[in-house]
């Protein structure tokens, strides 16, 4: 990566030697007539994060960023021009039946030893980063009653158990009024099953059901003892329902309160990587820094997931070669095909992903967005693939196939067992999850300054040359350990701002 290292001077970032475009770093963009040290002169205003042509481009000529074709010039474009998204014809998505598989498996990086965190150790060997009571629900009908009860528990009971961090109602939009026997129903059901046994709940589970729903409470945790299930239709009215939930919750709070943090190896951690509200800096500052942290975690033996199908679809040809073997490569392709088909049924394709804010931030299309998005995966071999909501059962770098929707991706990564999430944002989003801490990484200095009480890590300094990708990568890695240990609170946890769970249900509602 080339960075002209003078904060006061006009700056652009060119990522790869082959690139014929670069993005403007300076806040507010740069005016026409600006001359860069290399001699490039802007022939018009180019906004921050947007692309400038580094050479004259003919009509139809490839526009290259990250060393990859992100589109074709719709008309001749002169050197120094602003390449607005309207000038970029989007290429077709990579053909899924012709991808090279496992032909460039990266060498494993040197292993990192000696890194530990302070976590809770569960009876089944898993670890936890928070000590929480999770109140599962089998159906949305019970949500109003559960919310009422949780409010009372937090006010009247939780203060008696200071070692417990929180009580979380796992409300969701599933359980009844859905086609529970549809082939795709497996996705939301598996998700709820895996959320219910999230390690942060310490094995002290309970379920509130209604009594006539399609998703039986005993399906939520197969083999679960019935004494841990409350069925509201069996209770004598509302007050008794609330009392029953509170009593069952307190039994569990007593046990959870006994838990203490112990030293655990970083290899026990499951970390999820996600981006939301991306801009053109995402792929050059925050995501590469997260990618560096991904490599550090993999080197330390941890499990790391990256996700978001529509944001890897156009870069899949760069991922299948990194699959450790043919099976993993095929699984990557299987998940891409699954989502192609899903979008096709709704008469759209992966280009439905980009938001107006992405484009305002300089991203011309989903191809450019995807190339920046996969930087979160670092440079390690891809050792496994999870279908939406499947639990992670191995170490190393995993591709957890999820929609790119922040809340669905977050929910599915939690179902996969995520202990900490790292979330990069360029435009800025006040994202938070109740079940696991979320570390928010900003792609730009300006956002970090503006949202000083929401952003946890500033990767913007990479663009201005004040920090390197490696430095910010290490900062993220160390912060993951501190947050996982409970030594530091993320801003989302500090304020207690949490988004609801959001299931991925590709099956119909009834």
């Amino acid at each position: 990566m080339f960075i002209t290292n003078k904060p006061e001077a006009p700056l652009y970032i060119k990522v790869h030697a082959d690139d014929n475009v670069a993005i403007i770093v300076n806040a507010g963009g740069l005016a026409g007539g600006t001359v860069f040290p290399c001699g490039l002169e802007l022939i018009e205003h180019v906004p921050q994060g947007h692309k400038v042509a580094l050479s004259d481009l003919n009509e139809g000529e490839s526009i290259i960023r990250y060393g990859e074709v992100i589109g074709y010039a719709i008309r001749p474009i002169a050197r120094g021009s602003w390449i607005d998204e309207s000038l970029v014809v989007m290429p077709a998505a990579p053909e899924l039946d012709e991808l090279p598989i496992a032909n460039k498996v990266p060498e494993l990086l040197e292993s990192l030893t000696g890194y530990t965190f302070e976590g809770y150790r569960n009876d089944n060997g898993t670890v936890a980063t928070k000590n929480m009571l999770g109140i599962n629900t089998s159906v949305q009908c019970v949500a109003g009653v559960v919310d009422y009860a949780v409010k009372k528990i937090k006010a009247e009971i939780l203060p008696k158990y200071p070692n417990v961090d929180d009580v979380v109602a796992l409300n969701h939009n599933y359980g009844c009024g859905v086609a529970i026997n549809a082939p795709q129903a497996i996705v939301p059901i598996r998700t709820l099953q895996n959320l219910a046994v999230h390690p942060n709940f310490g094995g002290e589970m309970m379920i509130v059901g209604l009594g006539c729903e399609k998703l039986l409470p005993e399906q939520v945790i197969p083999g679960f003892d019935k004494s841990n299930i409350l069925s509201l239709q069996e209770e004598k009215g509302f007050i008794k329902m609330v009392q029953a939930i509170m009593a069952m919750a307190e039994e569990r709070l007593i046990k959870l309160n006994e838990r203490r943090r112990v030293t655990c190896p970083v290899s026990d951690l499951v970390v999820g990587m996600q981006c939301g509200g991306s801009d053109a800096f995402s792929g050059v500052t925050a995501n590469p820094a997260v990618g560096y942290a991904t490599d550090l975690l993999v080197r330390a033996g941890a499990t790391v997931m990256f996700s978001e199908v529509t944001e890897v679809r156009d870069a899949i040809h760069l991922l299948t070669p990194r699959a450790v073997d043919e099976g993993v490569g095929r699984a990557l392709i299987r998940e891409m095909k699954y989502y192609d088909h899903y979008l096709d049924l709704g008469e759209v394709d992966r280009s439905a992903n980009t938001a107006p804010g992405n484009k305002k931030g300089g991203l011309a299309n989903i191809v450019e967005k995807a190339l920046g998005s996969i930087a979160k995966s670092g440079s390690s071999p891809i050792s496994g693939v999870l279908a939406p909501g499947e639990k992670a059962a191995q170490k190393g770098l995993l591709y957890a196939a999820t929609p790119a929707s922040d809340f669905i991706c977050g929910t599915l990564q939690l179902a996969s067992g995520m202990h900490v999430q790292v979330f990069t944002t360029g435009r800025g989003t006040p994202y938070g999850l109740a079940m696991a801490p979320v570390i928010k990484v900003s792609t730009r200095n300006a956002l970090t300054e503006q949202w000083a009480d929401l952003i946890d890590v500033n990767a913007g300094q990479i663009a201005t040359g004040e920090a390197t990708i490696e430095e910010v990568g290490w900062e993220i890695f160390r912060l993951i350990i501190e947050v996982a240990s409970g030594h530091k609170k993320t801003w989302a946890d500090h304020w207690g701002i949490y988004n609801d769970l959001c299931l991925f249900n590709p099956a119909p509602v009834t």
Copy 2:
């Protein structure tokens, strides 16, 4: 309807003269050997709400309830047997291209005059049954911040404005991470647009957006003045975001606090009818009583909606004849076809509707459930059809096409402008909506007794002969007026138990 009118004696209900089955009324069911006054003897135990054969049935013979074929006998069934759902072969759904239309339009019932309620009159002529501040959101990203702000508003500001009933955050799972240009995206977008201008918000709207989302805040309320929109990405951090939301909310609370109830004709009301957690009594007690109230409301000039596509699909041949004209009949068929296609894409059909609790309650299949469900529509002509989330713009009985999922149906009826909802339940569900009062009607005496602090009206007495359909219908009608006037609180409003909004999004997520 034939009811053996001795509370201590064995009771069954036969709905129609042609029926060859009846349902058992007695709590706990009746034992084999029980003899009814008519001479029928049970040859085995039949649970409450379940069907008994009134005559010998041959294999393949039609099983008739409500005067309609609800299925075919899978094997010979002797008189006095329990007809469990496993004995009932489900018929095909009515063929949609061969339906009679507008050929049996009911005569309008005598109009009811002089009925009024105390409501809030809005500047645009609509009325309101509650006086609430609605905080709209354009995207799910802002939910955590809005929830935080609403909590503070309720604690610190709302008490200063005693004429305002509540502050409601209209959080939802839409706005970004969705295929906003998919053909079906019109459904969730229209729903949010119509929810935003719900009459109970008194025209004092505000929107909290993020800044980079796909659903632009100005799309939520087209033509809305930008001064009513907060964009979190323009705020300097979390504390400023919360302060800005609180300040904008207080400006509106000051105005809302000036509103006073005035006398309004019942013809200004829009009432939604729904059922959830149905049993075999639904179609003979609560739903017919609601149907009677529907007729009273229509006679008084109000707007009444019934809904739930999968619960009218198998009774559509009884509805198209009641359409006031060819156009309304065709619109009914259009909505059935729409949903057939939607379910087909997910590889299921309307039979995906019935829940285990429905079957436990005596409903053999969706045909029997649908025949009971449409009783809510009473006996008036069907004068209009709304596609999912469309606003009601006419008086009389409307079919508002929605999924049967309680929460999606409730959200869509709210989008259609519903002021009060009447919700019947047999199995029991603690359902509530924040935006409009919900009157819960029980189908059974036992449920009413068990959930005395949740059920508002007991229709169970119809089965035991203690009340008539007409009496309970009038009770519901009068309660709608009292609740709409704020003179009486529903149990859900008393406890403040509310389910979240739940959008119908037939388009893909990205």
